[in-house]
Amino acid sequence: MAERVFITGVGMITAIGDDVVGNLHSLRSQHSGLGYTEYIDTIYRQVLPVAEVKHPSESLFALAGVPVKDGYTRTTLLGLIAMREALQHAGIEEVQSVPTGFINASTVGGMCDTEKVYFDIIDPEKNGAFLQYIDTLDCADCTQRIADVVGFSEHIATISTACSSSANALMFGARMIRQGMLPRVVCGGTEALTRFTLNGFNSLKNVDKQFCRPFDQQRTGLNLGEGAAYLVLESESFAKANNSRILAELSGYCNTNEAFHPTSPSPDGDGAYEAMKTALAMSGHSLEQVEYINVHGTATLNNDVSEGKALERLFGDKVPLFSSTKPFTGHTLAAAGAIEAIYSILAIQHGLIFPNLNFSEKMEELSITPVTQLLEGYPVNNVISNSFGFGGNNASLVISKYEG
C-alpha cells in the first residue's frame, strides 16, 4: 500500500503578492495583478496586459537572499523567493537533514534575460559579462542555481510540459514518495515574463488586449503572468515522525495526453474529462465530495469550451463551484499548476471560494457559469485543480483537507 502524500509547506510570489499571505490578501480583496509591463522590452508594452511581479530584477536579489550577481535570471530569483518561503513554512532549516528531492518546472528557462543579450552572445565582436548568461539558456539552469543556493543534492529534475509543467512536477514528486524513494520532495515551478513567450502567444492570436475574461462569452484570449510557487511534499510516515504541520493531502492526480492537436484542445474536452475523472477516482472521493474546482480557465476560445464541456460531462447538472484565478495572476505557464495548487489549499484552509473576475456573460456552448463573488465561510474539503497545455498535455490534481 503506497503511502499518502501530505503538503507541509508552501511558498509563492506572483503579481498579487510576494508571499502566500500577500496572495491570500489580494484574492480576498479581489485585487487583480493585471496591468502593463515595466520590464519587458516590447512594442506591446501599453497594448497587451500582463500580470508582472511588481519588482525590478535588481530588487528581487534582496528578497531572494542572494548577493547581486551576473547569471542569476529573473526566473531563478522568483524561484528562490518562493523556495525560501516554502522551506521556512515547512520548518526546514537544513534541507540535507533528510533526503529531499527537488522537482522544478520551467517552460523557457532564463529566456527573460538571455533574450536581452542573445545577439551579443552570437556576435564574435562582442565580449563581456553577458557571457555569464550562456548557461541560462536552458531550463535546468534555474533549477540548479536554486538547488545550489538552498542545498538540494539528493535528486533534482526539471519538467517542461508547457502550461501543465508544475502540476506534473507535483505528480512526479508525489510518485517518488509513494514508491518509497524519498521521504520529502519540494515541487513546483518558476516562470518569468519574456518577450519570446508574449510574442509566441500573440502570434497564435490568443492574447486578449483587455483583462482576460475566463468562461465569458466575449472572451478573446489569455493574459500572461509570471511567478513561482513550491510545495513541500512529505510521506505520511515521515510527516508524522517529524511532527510536521500538515496543510492538506495531495490525494489524487492524473496526467493524460489528448492526442488531438499540437496546440488546441478537443472541443468536447476529452483530455480534461479523463484527467479529472481519473485523478478523482485515485483520491477515493466521489463527484459529490468536490466542493470547488480551480479551473485552468485561460480565457482562450478553445480552452474554456473544452474544459467547460468536460465539467458538464463529468458532473452532469451538479457541476461544483468553479473559478479561474488567472484574472488575478495572469497565465503563469510553468508556475500555474503550483500557484493554483496553493490557492486550492488556501480555499480549504480558510473556507474560501475565489471569484472568477471579469465574467459577465454566459458562454453559449455551456449551461454553467463560474463563481463571480468571493465566498467566505464555505466548507471546502476537496478541490480539483486543472492545468492543460500545448502538446495535448493535461494534468489534474485533487487536493483534500487533512482530517488527521
Partner: protein
C-alpha cells in the same frame, strides 16, 4: 531502484549509421570539425510529406526514432510516452528569437514558437500514435533522459506494461559557437576518433535521437535488463567512488562517457581506480557530447549485450570480447555536474 525493467525495442539516429543495417559491420564515421552531426535517415516512410515540410530537424529525428523503436519492439499498443531533452528544438528557438527582431514583433509565424516548446516532440508522438496515456518531458541537461528513464521505471512499477522512453538533441552551428564561448569544445581541430588521446580543456559536440520500449517482463527479444540506476548531482570524488563501488560489483564490461575533456577527466579516473582490469569502452567518439548522450550509451550497451560482440570498426583499440558479457556498468557525466550510473544485465 526496485525491480528490473527490460529493453524490448530500440532505435537510434546518431552520427554513426545506427538507424538501419548491421552496426557490427558498420564503418566508423569520424570528423575533425569537433562536431559530430547525425546521419539523418529518409523520413518519408515514417512521416507524411505535408507534415514533414513543416517540421524542423529535432522534431523529425525525435518522431522518426520513436516510430522506428515502436516497430522494433513489436508492441503497437500505445503506452506512456516519456522523453528527455536538454535543449529541445534549438533551430526553432533561434528562429523565433530572430524573427521577433526582424519583423519587429508583428505578423510572426507561430510555428517556430510552437515547435520550440520542449514537449512538442512528445505531443507529436502521442498525436501520431493516438496515444492518450501518461506523457511527460524532462529538461535537465545530463539528467534529462535519466529522469525520463526513472519516470518510466516508476510507471512500470505502478503497473504499466510498457513505456516509450527516449531522448533527442540537436546541435546547431549557432549553438556550437555559443558553447565554444564558454569553453565547452576543444580549441583546436581534433579527429573525433582520437578524442581520448587529446586530453585538453573541452570536448567535441554531438547530437542524436534515441528511443527505447521498456517493459516489466522479459521476452526472447529483450535486448537487456536495466537492473540498477543511480543519479548523483555534483558529487565529491569520494562520494562518487563510494557510489560506484556500491553499485556495480561483478561488472565484466564498463561503458563510459569519457570525452577527452581535461576539466572533468578526474571523475573517469575515479572510475578507473574503482575497477582496475575491467575492460572499458568509451562512446563519445561515436556520438560526441550532448545533454542526452547517455541514451546513446545505453543503446550501445544493450546492443553489445544481446549480440555478445563489439562493433569492430568502432572499437579498433579493443580486442573482440573473449568471454561472455553478463553485466555492464554504464557511467557517464555531463560536464562534471550530472553523474549517472546504470547496471545492464544480459537477459
Amino acid at each position: 531502484m526496485k525491480g528490473k525493467c527490460y529493453i524490448q525495442g530500440m532505435a537510434a539516429i546518431s552520427p554513426q549509421p545506427t538507424f538501419e543495417g548491421d552496426i557490427f559491420q558498420a564503418p566508423l564515421v569520424h570528423t575533425d570539425s569537433n562536431l559530430l552531426a547525425c546521419i539523418e535517415p529518409d523520413y518519408k516512410p515514417f512521416i507524411p510529406g505535408n507534415s514533414l515540410r513543416r517540421m524542423t530537424r529535432t522534431l523529425k529525428m525525435g518522431l522518426t526514432a520513436a516510430l522506428k523503436c515502436i516497430q522494433d519492439s513489436g508492441i503497437s499498443t500505445p503506452g506512456p510516452i516519456i522523453t528527455g531533452t536538454g535543449k529541445g528544438s534549438l533551430q526553432d528557438t533561434e528562429k523565433f528569437i530572430k524573427e521577433i527582431v526582424e519583423y519587429k514583433e508583428t505578423a510572426l509565424n507561430p510555428t517556430p514558437f510552437i515547435q520550440s516548446t520542449y514537449n512538442s516532440v512528445n505531443g507529436l508522438i502521442a498525436l501520431q500514435q493516438k496515444c492518450t496515456a501518461y506523457n511527460n518531458t524532462f529538461v535537465h541537461r545530463g539528467f534529462s533522459f535519466e529522469n525520463a528513464l526513472l519516470d518510466s521505471i516508476m510507471m512500470i512499477q505502478e503497473g504499466a506494461s510498457h513505456t516509450l522512453t527516449g531522448a533527442f538533441e540537436e546541435i546547431t552551428k549557432e549553438h556550437f559557437y555559443i558553447k565554444s564561448r564558454i569553453g565547452c569544445w576543444k580549441s583546436t581541430s581534433v579527429n573525433s576518433q582520437e578524442v581520448y588521446q587529446h586530453l585538453s580543456p573541452g570536448t567535441i559536440a554531438g547530437e542524436g535521437a534515441t528511443f527505447f520500449t521498456l517493459t516489466g517482463a522479459a521476452t526472447p527479444q529483450s535486448y537487456a535488463a536495466i537492473s540498477g540506476f543511480r543519479m548523483l548531482y555534483k558529487p565529491s570524488e569520494e562520494k562518487l567512488a563510494t557510489a560506484l563501488r556500491d553499485f556495480s560489483e561483478g561488472a565484466d564490461l564498463i561503458i563510459c562517457g569519457r570525452n577527452g575533456d581535461s576539466n572533468h577527466e578526474h571523475y573517469y579516473e575515479v572510475l578507473d581506480a574503482c575497477f582496475p582490469g575491467v575492460p572499458q569502452l568509451p562512446f563519445k567518439h561515436l556520438c560526441g557530447e550532448y545533454d542526452t548522450a547517455g541514451a546513446f550509451g545505453l543503446w550501445l550497451g544493450a546492443r553489445i549485450l544481446r549480440a555478445q560482440q563489439l562493433p569492430a570498426s568502432w572499437f579498433p583499440m579493443q580486442e573482440q570480447l573473449t568471454a561472455p558479457v553478463h553485466s555492464i556498468l554504464f557511467y557517464n557525466h555531463f560536464f562534471g555536474e550530472q553523474h549517472v550510473m546504470l547496471r545492464l544485465e544480459r537477459v
